[in-house]
Symmetry: C2
Amino acid sequence: VPLGEFELIERYFSRGFPRRDDVVIGVGDDAAIVRVPSDAELVVAVDTLVSGVHFPEGLAPMHVGHRALAVNLSDMAAMGALPCWCTLALTLPAVEERWLEEFARGLRGLALRHSVALIGGDTTRGPLTISVQILGVVPVGAALRRSGARAGDLVFVSGTTGDAAAGLGLIQGTVSALDPEHAASLQQRFLLPAPRVELGLALRAIASAAIDVSDGLHADLGKMLQASGAGAQVHVDRLPISRALMESQGVARARRLALGGGDDYELCFTVPASRVRAAEHAAGIAACEICQIGTVEAEPGVRYLDGGRPVVAEMAGYDHFAR
Amino acid sequence: VPLGEFELIERYFSRGFPRRDDVVIGVGDDAAIVRVPSDAELVVAVDTLVSGVHFPEGLAPMHVGHRALAVNLSDMAAMGALPCWCTLALTLPAVEERWLEEFARGLRGLALRHSVALIGGDTTRGPLTISVQILGVVPVGAALRRSGARAGDLVFVSGTTGDAAAGLGLIQGTVSALDPEHAASLQQRFLLPAPRVELGLALRAIASAAIDVSDGLHADLGKMLQASGAGAQVHVDRLPISRALMESQGVARARRLALGGGDDYELCFTVPASRVRAAEHAAGIAACEICQIGTVEAEPGVRYLDGGRPVVAEMAGYDHFAR
Protein backbone atom coordinates (compact mmCIF):
# COMPACT_ATOMS: atom_id res chain seq x y z
CA VAL A 1 0.00 0.00 0.00
CA PRO A 2 1.52 3.33 -0.96
CA LEU A 3 1.76 5.79 1.87
CA GLY A 4 0.28 9.24 1.57
CA GLU A 5 2.57 12.22 1.74
CA PHE A 6 1.27 13.41 5.06
CA GLU A 7 1.29 9.98 6.65
CA LEU A 8 4.82 9.44 5.41
CA ILE A 9 6.08 12.56 7.17
CA GLU A 10 4.10 11.69 10.27
CA ARG A 11 5.30 8.13 10.46
CA TYR A 12 9.00 8.60 9.95
CA PHE A 13 9.80 12.17 10.83
CA SER A 14 7.62 13.11 13.79
CA ARG A 15 8.62 10.69 16.51
CA GLY A 16 11.85 10.81 18.43
CA PHE A 17 13.04 14.15 17.05
CA PRO A 18 13.94 16.91 19.52
CA ARG A 19 11.05 19.00 20.85
CA ARG A 20 11.69 22.67 21.40
CA ASP A 21 9.59 25.20 23.32
CA ASP A 22 10.15 27.80 20.58
CA VAL A 23 8.26 25.72 17.98
CA VAL A 24 4.71 27.10 17.84
CA ILE A 25 3.56 24.87 14.97
CA GLY A 26 5.66 21.98 13.65
CA VAL A 27 4.93 19.47 10.89
CA GLY A 28 1.28 19.23 9.79
CA ASP A 29 -0.01 22.67 8.76
CA ASP A 30 0.70 24.63 5.56
CA ALA A 31 3.84 26.00 7.20
CA ALA A 32 5.70 25.80 10.50
CA ILE A 33 5.93 28.64 13.01
CA VAL A 34 8.84 29.29 15.34
CA ARG A 35 9.84 32.08 17.73
CA VAL A 36 13.18 33.78 17.09
CA PRO A 37 14.70 35.47 20.18
CA SER A 38 14.40 39.25 19.86
CA ASP A 39 18.13 39.83 20.41
CA ALA A 40 19.11 37.38 17.68
CA GLU A 41 19.53 37.41 13.93
CA LEU A 42 18.21 34.50 11.89
CA VAL A 43 20.79 32.44 9.99
CA VAL A 44 19.56 30.45 6.98
CA ALA A 45 21.27 27.85 4.80
CA VAL A 46 20.23 25.13 2.40
CA ASP A 47 22.23 22.25 0.98
CA THR A 48 21.13 19.57 -1.43
CA LEU A 49 22.47 16.05 -1.76
CA VAL A 50 21.94 14.16 -5.01
CA SER A 51 22.52 10.40 -5.08
CA GLY A 52 25.49 9.55 -7.27
CA VAL A 53 26.78 13.13 -7.14
CA HIS A 54 27.24 14.01 -3.47
CA PHE A 55 27.36 10.48 -2.18
CA PRO A 56 27.79 7.10 -3.87
CA GLU A 57 24.60 5.36 -4.95
CA GLY A 58 23.91 2.58 -2.52
CA LEU A 59 25.27 4.48 0.49
CA ALA A 60 23.52 3.19 3.61
CA PRO A 61 20.39 5.30 4.20
CA MET A 62 21.47 5.95 7.80
CA HIS A 63 24.59 7.64 6.46
CA VAL A 64 22.57 9.59 3.89
CA GLY A 65 20.29 10.91 6.64
CA HIS A 66 23.22 11.86 8.83
CA ARG A 67 24.99 13.56 5.94
CA ALA A 68 21.94 15.59 4.85
CA LEU A 69 21.85 17.35 8.21
CA ALA A 70 25.62 17.39 8.79
CA VAL A 71 26.41 19.46 5.70
CA ASN A 72 23.90 22.07 6.84
CA LEU A 73 25.07 22.09 10.46
CA SER A 74 28.53 22.74 9.05
CA ASP A 75 27.22 25.93 7.41
CA MET A 76 25.86 27.04 10.79
CA ALA A 77 29.25 26.28 12.36
CA ALA A 78 30.99 28.46 9.77
CA MET A 79 28.74 31.38 10.74
CA GLY A 80 29.17 30.88 14.49
CA ALA A 81 25.42 30.25 14.62
CA LEU A 82 23.45 28.01 16.95
CA PRO A 83 21.34 25.64 14.81
CA CYS A 84 17.73 25.40 16.00
CA TRP A 85 15.29 24.16 13.35
CA CYS A 86 15.36 22.42 9.99
CA THR A 87 13.06 21.41 7.16
CA LEU A 88 13.47 18.44 4.84
CA ALA A 89 12.59 18.25 1.14
CA LEU A 90 12.87 14.59 0.26
CA THR A 91 12.47 13.31 -3.29
CA LEU A 92 12.28 9.52 -3.50
CA PRO A 93 11.88 7.09 -6.41
CA ALA A 94 9.54 4.96 -4.26
CA VAL A 95 8.47 4.51 -0.67
CA GLU A 96 10.68 1.83 0.84
CA GLU A 97 9.85 1.62 4.50
CA ARG A 98 13.18 0.11 5.49
CA TRP A 99 15.10 2.83 3.67
CA LEU A 100 13.00 5.59 5.24
CA GLU A 101 13.38 4.18 8.74
CA GLU A 102 17.14 4.07 8.42
CA PHE A 103 17.33 7.48 6.77
CA ALA A 104 15.22 8.99 9.55
CA ARG A 105 17.43 7.27 12.13
CA GLY A 106 20.57 8.90 10.73
CA LEU A 107 18.93 12.32 10.54
CA ARG A 108 17.41 11.98 14.00
CA GLY A 109 20.65 10.94 15.68
CA LEU A 110 22.43 14.10 14.60
CA ALA A 111 19.34 16.27 15.23
CA LEU A 112 19.19 14.98 18.80
CA ARG A 113 22.89 15.63 19.36
CA HIS A 114 22.41 19.28 18.37
CA SER A 115 18.81 19.78 19.63
CA VAL A 116 17.59 20.69 16.15
CA ALA A 117 13.83 20.32 15.62
CA LEU A 118 12.47 19.11 12.27
CA ILE A 119 9.63 21.58 11.71
CA GLY A 120 8.50 20.89 8.18
CA GLY A 121 9.02 18.99 5.04
CA ASP A 122 7.88 17.92 1.66
CA THR A 123 8.06 14.44 0.18
CA THR A 124 7.85 14.01 -3.57
CA ARG A 125 8.36 11.24 -6.07
CA GLY A 126 11.41 11.43 -8.28
CA PRO A 127 15.13 10.63 -8.41
CA LEU A 128 16.68 10.49 -4.91
CA THR A 129 17.43 14.08 -3.88
CA ILE A 130 17.59 15.40 -0.34
CA SER A 131 17.48 19.08 0.47
CA VAL A 132 17.72 20.26 4.06
CA GLN A 133 17.17 23.85 5.05
CA ILE A 134 18.60 24.84 8.38
CA LEU A 135 17.69 27.82 10.54
CA GLY A 136 19.86 29.06 13.36
CA VAL A 137 20.36 32.11 15.51
CA VAL A 138 23.28 34.34 16.33
CA PRO A 139 23.44 37.45 18.56
CA VAL A 140 22.97 40.61 16.49
CA GLY A 141 26.21 41.41 14.66
CA ALA A 142 28.12 38.41 16.05
CA ALA A 143 28.09 36.11 13.00
CA LEU A 144 31.39 34.96 11.52
CA ARG A 145 31.76 35.91 7.87
CA ARG A 146 34.01 34.95 5.01
CA SER A 147 34.98 38.53 4.37
CA GLY A 148 36.83 39.58 7.55
CA ALA A 149 40.35 38.19 6.98
CA ARG A 150 43.06 40.88 7.10
CA ALA A 151 46.78 40.80 6.24
CA GLY A 152 48.72 39.59 9.27
CA ASP A 153 45.90 37.36 10.56
CA LEU A 154 46.84 33.74 11.07
CA VAL A 155 45.14 30.95 9.11
CA PHE A 156 43.83 27.97 11.11
CA VAL A 157 42.06 24.76 10.27
CA SER A 158 40.28 22.45 12.70
CA GLY A 159 40.79 18.69 13.04
CA THR A 160 42.46 16.98 10.09
CA THR A 161 41.71 17.28 6.38
CA GLY A 162 41.85 14.82 3.51
CA ASP A 163 40.52 11.88 5.52
CA ALA A 164 37.00 12.01 4.09
CA ALA A 165 38.24 12.10 0.48
CA ALA A 166 40.45 9.08 1.20
CA GLY A 167 37.51 7.39 2.90
CA LEU A 168 35.32 7.95 -0.14
CA GLY A 169 38.11 6.63 -2.37
CA LEU A 170 38.34 3.51 -0.22
CA ILE A 171 34.57 2.97 -0.52
CA GLN A 172 34.73 3.46 -4.28
CA GLY A 173 37.85 1.34 -4.71
CA THR A 174 40.04 4.15 -6.09
CA VAL A 175 42.17 4.37 -2.94
CA SER A 176 43.65 1.50 -0.94
CA ALA A 177 44.99 1.14 2.60
CA LEU A 178 46.94 -1.85 3.87
CA ASP A 179 46.01 -1.42 7.53
CA PRO A 180 42.30 -2.21 8.05
CA GLU A 181 42.18 0.12 11.08
CA HIS A 182 43.38 3.01 8.94
CA ALA A 183 40.83 2.11 6.29
CA ALA A 184 38.01 1.99 8.84
CA SER A 185 38.97 5.30 10.42
CA LEU A 186 39.16 7.08 7.04
CA GLN A 187 35.85 5.64 5.84
CA GLN A 188 34.24 6.74 9.08
CA ARG A 189 35.32 10.30 8.40
CA PHE A 190 33.43 10.19 5.09
CA LEU A 191 30.37 8.32 6.39
CA LEU A 192 29.74 10.23 9.61
CA PRO A 193 30.99 13.80 9.29
CA ALA A 194 30.96 15.67 12.59
CA PRO A 195 30.23 19.36 11.92
CA ARG A 196 32.15 21.79 14.14
CA VAL A 197 29.16 23.59 15.64
CA GLU A 198 30.70 24.01 19.12
CA LEU A 199 33.93 25.39 17.65
CA GLY A 200 32.00 27.91 15.53
CA LEU A 201 30.14 29.14 18.62
CA ALA A 202 33.37 29.40 20.63
CA LEU A 203 35.12 31.39 17.86
CA ARG A 204 32.59 34.26 17.86
CA ALA A 205 34.36 37.55 18.59
CA ILE A 206 37.70 35.76 18.09
CA ALA A 207 37.93 34.64 14.45
CA SER A 208 38.07 37.43 11.87
CA ALA A 209 36.68 35.17 9.10
CA ALA A 210 35.51 31.57 8.76
CA ILE A 211 34.33 29.05 6.18
CA ASP A 212 33.57 25.36 6.37
CA VAL A 213 35.75 22.98 4.40
CA SER A 214 33.32 21.11 2.17
CA ASP A 215 34.90 21.44 -1.28
CA GLY A 216 38.50 21.00 -0.14
CA LEU A 217 40.82 23.22 1.90
CA HIS A 218 42.45 24.82 -1.15
CA ALA A 219 39.12 25.76 -2.72
CA ASP A 220 37.40 26.93 0.46
CA LEU A 221 40.36 28.89 1.80
CA GLY A 222 40.48 30.53 -1.63
CA LYS A 223 36.80 31.52 -1.39
CA MET A 224 37.28 33.01 2.08
CA LEU A 225 40.32 34.99 0.97
CA GLN A 226 38.57 36.20 -2.17
CA ALA A 227 35.60 37.40 -0.09
CA SER A 228 38.09 39.19 2.15
CA GLY A 229 40.02 40.74 -0.75
CA ALA A 230 43.21 39.12 0.53
CA GLY A 231 45.59 36.22 -0.05
CA ALA A 232 47.72 33.93 2.11
CA GLN A 233 50.82 31.87 2.39
CA VAL A 234 50.25 28.32 3.57
CA HIS A 235 52.85 25.85 4.83
CA VAL A 236 52.07 22.46 3.33
CA ASP A 237 54.37 20.87 5.94
CA ARG A 238 52.04 22.18 8.65
CA LEU A 239 48.81 20.74 7.23
CA PRO A 240 46.96 18.71 9.88
CA ILE A 241 47.12 15.19 8.46
CA SER A 242 45.90 12.20 10.43
CA ARG A 243 48.17 9.27 11.12
CA ALA A 244 45.77 7.02 9.21
CA LEU A 245 46.01 9.23 6.11
CA MET A 246 49.78 9.77 6.31
CA GLU A 247 50.67 6.13 6.93
CA SER A 248 48.28 4.69 4.39
CA GLN A 249 48.84 7.16 1.58
CA GLY A 250 52.33 8.55 2.05
CA VAL A 251 53.21 12.21 2.41
CA ALA A 252 52.70 13.38 -1.20
CA ARG A 253 49.26 11.83 -1.69
CA ALA A 254 48.22 12.73 1.85
CA ARG A 255 48.99 16.41 1.22
CA ARG A 256 47.15 16.35 -2.10
CA LEU A 257 44.09 14.93 -0.36
CA ALA A 258 44.43 17.31 2.59
CA LEU A 259 44.39 20.29 0.21
CA GLY A 260 42.19 19.07 -2.65
CA GLY A 261 39.84 16.51 -1.12
CA GLY A 262 36.31 17.48 -0.14
CA ASP A 263 33.74 16.51 2.49
CA ASP A 264 35.89 17.23 5.55
CA TYR A 265 33.40 19.62 7.19
CA GLU A 266 36.17 21.13 9.26
CA LEU A 267 36.38 24.89 9.80
CA CYS A 268 39.02 27.06 8.16
CA PHE A 269 39.30 30.43 9.89
CA THR A 270 41.55 33.41 10.42
CA VAL A 271 42.53 35.00 13.73
CA PRO A 272 44.28 38.31 14.43
CA ALA A 273 47.71 37.70 16.00
CA SER A 274 46.51 39.28 19.25
CA ARG A 275 43.68 36.72 19.56
CA VAL A 276 45.61 33.49 18.98
CA ARG A 277 45.60 32.57 22.69
CA ALA A 278 41.84 33.19 22.78
CA ALA A 279 41.38 30.96 19.72
CA GLU A 280 43.36 28.17 21.36
CA HIS A 281 41.27 28.53 24.50
CA ALA A 282 38.07 28.43 22.39
CA ALA A 283 39.26 25.26 20.68
CA GLY A 284 39.86 23.72 24.10
CA ILE A 285 36.30 24.56 25.15
CA ALA A 286 35.01 22.96 21.95
CA ALA A 287 37.25 19.91 22.56
CA CYS A 288 38.68 20.34 19.08
CA GLU A 289 42.23 20.45 17.75
CA ILE A 290 43.15 23.47 15.66
CA CYS A 291 46.27 23.96 13.60
CA GLN A 292 47.89 27.15 12.33
CA ILE A 293 48.78 26.55 8.69
CA GLY A 294 49.68 30.00 7.39
CA THR A 295 49.32 33.76 7.35
CA VAL A 296 46.99 36.14 5.55
CA GLU A 297 48.69 38.50 3.11
CA ALA A 298 47.46 41.50 1.18
CA GLU A 299 48.33 39.99 -2.20
CA PRO A 300 45.48 37.86 -3.57
CA GLY A 301 45.98 34.14 -4.16
CA VAL A 302 47.40 31.33 -2.06
CA ARG A 303 51.14 30.70 -2.04
CA TYR A 304 52.30 27.32 -0.77
CA LEU A 305 55.57 26.78 1.07
CA ASP A 306 57.36 23.54 1.98
CA GLY A 307 60.22 23.85 4.46
CA GLY A 308 59.89 27.60 3.95
CA ARG A 309 60.39 27.33 0.15
CA PRO A 310 57.72 28.10 -2.44
CA VAL A 311 56.13 25.06 -4.11
CA VAL A 312 53.62 24.91 -6.90
CA ALA A 313 50.35 23.36 -5.78
CA GLU A 314 48.23 22.28 -8.69
CA MET A 315 44.96 21.85 -6.97
CA ALA A 316 41.54 22.36 -8.36
CA GLY A 317 38.73 22.91 -5.95
CA TYR A 318 35.70 20.71 -6.18
CA ASP A 319 33.05 22.29 -8.36
CA HIS A 320 29.63 20.73 -8.79
CA PHE A 321 29.35 21.55 -12.48
CA ALA A 322 33.01 21.23 -13.40
CA ARG A 323 33.78 17.71 -12.29
CA VAL B 1 32.82 26.41 -20.42
CA PRO B 2 30.99 25.03 -17.40
CA LEU B 3 30.02 27.60 -14.83
CA GLY B 4 31.09 27.23 -11.24
CA GLU B 5 28.44 26.88 -8.59
CA PHE B 6 29.11 30.24 -7.04
CA GLU B 7 29.30 32.07 -10.34
CA LEU B 8 26.07 30.45 -11.44
CA ILE B 9 24.19 31.78 -8.43
CA GLU B 10 25.82 35.17 -8.83
CA ARG B 11 25.07 35.47 -12.52
CA TYR B 12 21.45 34.46 -12.58
CA PHE B 13 20.08 34.95 -9.11
CA SER B 14 21.68 38.08 -7.71
CA ARG B 15 20.65 40.81 -10.09
CA GLY B 16 17.19 42.27 -10.31
CA PHE B 17 15.77 40.52 -7.26
CA PRO B 18 14.16 42.62 -4.53
CA ARG B 19 16.52 44.16 -1.98
CA ARG B 20 15.33 44.36 1.60
CA ASP B 21 16.79 46.31 4.51
CA ASP B 22 16.30 43.36 6.84
CA VAL B 23 18.76 41.19 4.88
CA VAL B 24 22.09 41.42 6.74
CA ILE B 25 23.92 38.91 4.53
CA GLY B 26 22.43 37.55 1.31
CA VAL B 27 23.86 35.10 -1.23
CA GLY B 28 27.62 34.51 -1.02
CA ASP B 29 28.56 33.40 2.51
CA ASP B 30 28.08 30.01 4.17
CA ALA B 31 24.59 31.12 5.17
CA ALA B 32 22.32 34.14 4.91
CA ILE B 33 21.39 36.37 7.83
CA VAL B 34 18.09 38.24 8.20
CA ARG B 35 16.41 40.25 10.95
CA VAL B 36 13.00 39.06 12.13
CA PRO B 37 10.86 41.79 13.76
CA SER B 38 10.71 41.21 17.52
CA ASP B 39 6.88 41.24 17.59
CA ALA B 40 6.63 38.59 14.88
CA GLU B 41 6.74 34.83 14.64
CA LEU B 42 8.71 33.21 11.83
CA VAL B 43 6.71 31.14 9.32
CA VAL B 44 8.61 28.47 7.36
CA ALA B 45 7.57 26.29 4.43
CA VAL B 46 9.30 24.24 1.75
CA ASP B 47 7.92 22.81 -1.47
CA THR B 48 9.67 20.78 -4.11
CA LEU B 49 8.87 20.55 -7.81
CA VAL B 50 10.10 17.54 -9.78
CA SER B 51 10.04 17.71 -13.57
CA GLY B 52 7.54 15.21 -14.96
CA VAL B 53 5.77 14.89 -11.61
CA HIS B 54 4.68 18.38 -10.58
CA PHE B 55 4.86 19.91 -14.02
CA PRO B 56 5.12 18.45 -17.50
CA GLU B 57 8.62 17.93 -18.84
CA GLY B 58 9.33 20.64 -21.35
CA LEU B 59 7.34 23.29 -19.49
CA ALA B 60 8.80 26.70 -20.34
CA PRO B 61 11.51 27.52 -17.78
CA MET B 62 9.87 30.89 -17.09
CA HIS B 63 6.76 29.05 -15.93
CA VAL B 64 8.84 26.62 -13.87
CA GLY B 65 10.53 29.53 -12.08
CA HIS B 66 7.22 31.26 -11.44
CA ARG B 67 5.66 28.04 -10.16
CA ALA B 68 8.54 27.19 -7.80
CA LEU B 69 7.93 30.39 -5.85
CA ALA B 70 4.13 30.48 -6.31
CA VAL B 71 3.52 27.17 -4.54
CA ASN B 72 5.47 28.42 -1.55
CA LEU B 73 3.82 31.84 -1.50
CA SER B 74 0.54 29.96 -1.41
CA ASP B 75 1.62 28.25 1.83
CA MET B 76 2.34 31.68 3.31
CA ALA B 77 -1.10 32.85 2.17
CA ALA B 78 -2.74 29.91 3.93
CA MET B 79 -1.06 30.93 7.20
CA GLY B 80 -1.92 34.63 6.85
CA ALA B 81 1.83 35.28 6.76
CA LEU B 82 3.73 38.01 4.97
CA PRO B 83 6.41 36.34 2.80
CA CYS B 84 9.81 38.01 3.13
CA TRP B 85 12.73 35.81 2.10
CA CYS B 86 13.37 32.61 0.18
CA THR B 87 16.15 30.20 -0.66
CA LEU B 88 16.47 28.07 -3.78
CA ALA B 89 17.87 24.55 -4.05
CA LEU B 90 18.20 23.91 -7.77
CA THR B 91 19.26 20.55 -9.17
CA LEU B 92 19.99 20.66 -12.90
CA PRO B 93 21.12 18.03 -15.41
CA ALA B 94 23.38 20.59 -17.07
CA VAL B 95 24.00 24.32 -17.17
CA GLU B 96 21.97 25.72 -20.04
CA GLU B 97 22.30 29.46 -19.94
CA ARG B 98 19.09 30.14 -21.82
CA TRP B 99 17.11 27.86 -19.51
CA LEU B 100 18.59 29.49 -16.40
CA GLU B 101 17.92 33.00 -17.65
CA GLU B 102 14.27 32.21 -18.30
CA PHE B 103 13.87 30.29 -15.04
CA ALA B 104 15.35 33.21 -13.10
CA ARG B 105 13.06 35.62 -14.96
CA GLY B 106 9.96 33.70 -13.86
CA LEU B 107 11.13 33.46 -10.28
CA ARG B 108 12.20 37.10 -10.20
CA GLY B 109 8.92 38.43 -11.57
CA LEU B 110 6.90 36.88 -8.77
CA ALA B 111 9.55 37.75 -6.15
CA LEU B 112 9.37 41.39 -7.21
CA ARG B 113 5.57 41.41 -7.05
CA HIS B 114 5.69 40.22 -3.43
CA SER B 115 8.99 41.88 -2.36
CA VAL B 116 10.55 38.54 -1.50
CA ALA B 117 14.36 38.53 -1.35
CA LEU B 118 16.32 35.50 -2.56
CA ILE B 119 18.85 35.13 0.26
CA GLY B 120 20.55 31.86 -0.50
CA GLY B 121 20.73 28.80 -2.60
CA ASP B 122 22.47 25.72 -3.68
CA THR B 123 22.95 24.47 -7.23
CA THR B 124 23.75 20.84 -7.81
CA ARG B 125 23.97 18.49 -10.77
CA GLY B 126 21.25 15.91 -11.14
CA PRO B 127 17.74 15.35 -12.47
CA LEU B 128 15.74 18.61 -12.64
CA THR B 129 14.38 19.26 -9.14
CA ILE B 130 13.54 22.63 -7.67
CA SER B 131 13.05 23.17 -3.97
CA VAL B 132 12.14 26.62 -2.65
CA GLN B 133 12.09 27.39 1.04
CA ILE B 134 10.10 30.40 2.04
CA LEU B 135 10.30 32.44 5.22
CA GLY B 136 7.62 34.85 6.30
CA VAL B 137 6.42 36.68 9.36
CA VAL B 138 3.15 36.93 11.21
CA PRO B 139 2.27 38.89 14.37
CA VAL B 140 2.60 36.67 17.46
CA GLY B 141 -0.44 34.38 17.68
CA ALA B 142 -2.11 35.73 14.53
CA ALA B 143 -1.36 32.89 12.09
CA LEU B 144 -4.24 31.10 10.38
CA ARG B 145 -4.23 27.37 11.06
CA ARG B 146 -5.91 24.34 9.62
CA SER B 147 -7.26 23.32 12.99
CA GLY B 148 -9.65 26.14 13.93
CA ALA B 149 -12.84 25.23 12.01
CA ARG B 150 -15.88 24.80 14.30
CA ALA B 151 -19.41 23.49 13.65
CA GLY B 152 -21.56 26.32 12.34
CA ASP B 153 -18.67 28.13 10.62
CA LEU B 154 -19.18 28.80 6.94
CA VAL B 155 -16.86 27.28 4.31
CA PHE B 156 -15.46 29.65 1.68
CA VAL B 157 -13.18 29.29 -1.29
CA SER B 158 -11.44 32.10 -3.18
CA GLY B 159 -11.48 32.65 -6.94
CA THR B 160 -12.50 29.66 -9.04
CA THR B 161 -11.30 26.06 -8.84
CA GLY B 162 -10.72 23.38 -11.47
CA ASP B 163 -9.28 25.77 -14.06
CA ALA B 164 -5.66 24.78 -13.51
CA ALA B 165 -6.40 21.06 -13.81
CA ALA B 166 -8.26 21.72 -17.05
CA GLY B 167 -5.38 23.90 -18.23
CA LEU B 168 -2.89 21.12 -17.54
CA GLY B 169 -5.16 18.66 -19.35
CA LEU B 170 -5.26 21.00 -22.35
CA ILE B 171 -1.46 21.21 -22.37
CA GLN B 172 -1.15 17.44 -22.12
CA GLY B 173 -3.88 16.77 -24.67
CA THR B 174 -6.22 14.93 -22.29
CA VAL B 175 -8.77 17.77 -22.20
CA SER B 176 -10.11 19.77 -25.13
CA ALA B 177 -11.85 23.13 -25.46
CA LEU B 178 -13.56 24.36 -28.62
CA ASP B 179 -13.18 28.08 -27.86
CA PRO B 180 -9.50 29.11 -28.09
CA GLU B 181 -10.09 31.94 -25.60
CA HIS B 182 -11.39 29.46 -23.04
CA ALA B 183 -8.40 27.21 -23.71
CA ALA B 184 -5.96 30.10 -23.29
CA SER B 185 -7.55 31.29 -20.07
CA LEU B 186 -7.53 27.80 -18.53
CA GLN B 187 -3.92 27.14 -19.55
CA GLN B 188 -2.92 30.46 -18.04
CA ARG B 189 -4.37 29.40 -14.71
CA PHE B 190 -2.05 26.37 -14.75
CA LEU B 191 1.01 28.17 -16.08
CA LEU B 192 0.94 31.29 -13.93
CA PRO B 193 -0.71 30.55 -10.59
CA ALA B 194 -1.39 33.69 -8.54
CA PRO B 195 -1.08 32.84 -4.84
CA ARG B 196 -3.59 34.61 -2.57
CA VAL B 197 -1.10 36.32 -0.29
CA GLU B 198 -3.14 39.53 0.12
CA LEU B 199 -6.29 37.58 0.93
CA GLY B 200 -4.44 35.52 3.56
CA LEU B 201 -3.21 38.71 5.22
CA ALA B 202 -6.69 40.27 5.13
CA LEU B 203 -8.28 37.17 6.68
CA ARG B 204 -6.18 37.26 9.88
CA ALA B 205 -8.46 37.51 12.93
CA ILE B 206 -11.44 36.73 10.64
CA ALA B 207 -11.03 33.19 9.30
CA SER B 208 -11.18 30.41 11.89
CA ALA B 209 -9.14 28.04 9.70
CA ALA B 210 -7.45 28.10 6.28
CA ILE B 211 -5.59 25.87 3.82
CA ASP B 212 -4.38 26.45 0.31
CA VAL B 213 -5.94 24.42 -2.49
CA SER B 214 -3.00 22.65 -4.10
CA ASP B 215 -4.12 19.02 -4.20
CA GLY B 216 -7.75 19.73 -5.08
CA LEU B 217 -10.62 21.29 -3.11
CA HIS B 218 -12.02 17.95 -1.94
CA ALA B 219 -8.66 16.74 -0.63
CA ASP B 220 -7.57 20.00 0.95
CA LEU B 221 -10.93 20.81 2.54
CA GLY B 222 -10.78 17.28 3.95
CA LYS B 223 -7.35 17.91 5.47
CA MET B 224 -8.49 21.17 7.06
CA LEU B 225 -11.60 19.53 8.52
CA GLN B 226 -9.61 16.57 9.79
CA ALA B 227 -7.13 18.90 11.52
CA SER B 228 -10.13 20.68 13.07
CA GLY B 229 -11.82 17.45 14.15
CA ALA B 230 -14.91 18.43 12.17
CA GLY B 231 -16.79 17.76 8.93
CA ALA B 232 -18.85 19.81 6.48
CA GLN B 233 -21.65 19.85 4.02
CA VAL B 234 -20.78 21.35 0.66
CA HIS B 235 -23.18 22.46 -2.07
CA VAL B 236 -21.75 21.33 -5.41
CA ASP B 237 -24.13 23.74 -7.13
CA ARG B 238 -22.40 26.63 -5.37
CA LEU B 239 -18.84 25.74 -6.40
CA PRO B 240 -17.13 28.75 -7.99
CA ILE B 241 -16.61 27.60 -11.57
CA SER B 242 -15.27 29.92 -14.22
CA ARG B 243 -17.21 30.55 -17.41
CA ALA B 244 -14.30 29.13 -19.39
CA LEU B 245 -14.41 25.87 -17.43
CA MET B 246 -18.21 25.55 -17.43
CA GLU B 247 -18.67 26.35 -21.10
CA SER B 248 -15.77 24.23 -22.34
CA GLN B 249 -16.28 21.17 -20.12
CA GLY B 250 -19.97 21.11 -19.24
CA VAL B 251 -21.36 21.07 -15.72
CA ALA B 252 -20.54 17.48 -14.70
CA ARG B 253 -16.90 17.55 -15.78
CA ALA B 254 -16.47 21.12 -14.54
CA ARG B 255 -17.64 20.10 -11.05
CA ARG B 256 -15.37 17.06 -11.04
CA LEU B 257 -12.41 19.27 -11.90
CA ALA B 258 -13.46 21.97 -9.42
CA LEU B 259 -13.50 19.39 -6.61
CA GLY B 260 -10.80 16.94 -7.65
CA GLY B 261 -8.35 18.93 -9.78
CA GLY B 262 -5.16 20.28 -8.26
CA ASP B 263 -2.84 23.26 -8.69
CA ASP B 264 -5.47 25.97 -8.11
CA TYR B 265 -3.57 27.75 -5.30
CA GLU B 266 -6.78 29.31 -4.08
CA LEU B 267 -7.56 29.52 -0.37
CA CYS B 268 -10.23 27.41 1.29
CA PHE B 269 -11.18 28.82 4.69
CA THR B 270 -13.85 28.84 7.34
CA VAL B 271 -15.47 31.87 8.95
CA PRO B 272 -17.72 32.08 12.03
CA ALA B 273 -21.22 33.25 11.03
CA SER B 274 -20.71 36.50 12.94
CA ARG B 275 -17.64 37.34 10.83
CA VAL B 276 -19.02 36.80 7.33
CA ARG B 277 -19.38 40.53 6.64
CA ALA B 278 -15.78 41.05 7.80
CA ALA B 279 -14.63 38.26 5.48
CA GLU B 280 -16.43 39.84 2.55
CA HIS B 281 -14.83 43.18 3.38
CA ALA B 282 -11.39 41.50 3.61
CA ALA B 283 -11.91 39.91 0.20
CA GLY B 284 -12.75 43.33 -1.19
CA ILE B 285 -9.51 44.75 0.20
CA ALA B 286 -7.59 41.87 -1.39
CA ALA B 287 -9.45 42.43 -4.68
CA CYS B 288 -10.45 38.78 -4.66
CA GLU B 289 -13.77 37.00 -5.14
CA ILE B 290 -14.80 34.60 -2.42
CA CYS B 291 -17.65 32.12 -2.50
CA GLN B 292 -19.51 30.43 0.34
CA ILE B 293 -19.81 26.75 -0.57
CA GLY B 294 -20.96 25.08 2.63
CA THR B 295 -21.10 24.81 6.39
CA VAL B 296 -18.89 23.14 8.98
CA GLU B 297 -20.56 20.34 10.92
CA ALA B 298 -19.51 18.35 13.95
CA GLU B 299 -19.69 15.01 12.14
CA PRO B 300 -16.42 14.18 10.37
CA GLY B 301 -16.32 13.81 6.58
CA VAL B 302 -17.60 15.92 3.71
CA ARG B 303 -21.21 15.50 2.57
CA TYR B 304 -22.05 16.89 -0.86
CA LEU B 305 -25.46 18.34 -1.75
CA ASP B 306 -26.88 19.25 -5.16
CA GLY B 307 -30.06 21.32 -5.11
CA GLY B 308 -30.22 20.56 -1.40
CA ARG B 309 -30.15 16.77 -1.94
CA PRO B 310 -27.28 14.48 -0.97
CA VAL B 311 -25.06 13.27 -3.84
CA VAL B 312 -22.18 10.84 -3.79
CA ALA B 313 -18.91 12.46 -4.76
CA GLU B 314 -16.28 9.93 -5.65
CA MET B 315 -13.24 12.08 -5.53
CA ALA B 316 -9.75 11.05 -4.56
CA GLY B 317 -7.35 13.73 -3.46
CA TYR B 318 -4.06 14.05 -5.24
CA ASP B 319 -1.36 12.13 -3.45
CA HIS B 320 2.28 12.30 -4.53
CA PHE B 321 2.98 8.64 -3.91
CA ALA B 322 -0.42 7.26 -4.83
CA ARG B 323 -0.86 8.51 -8.36
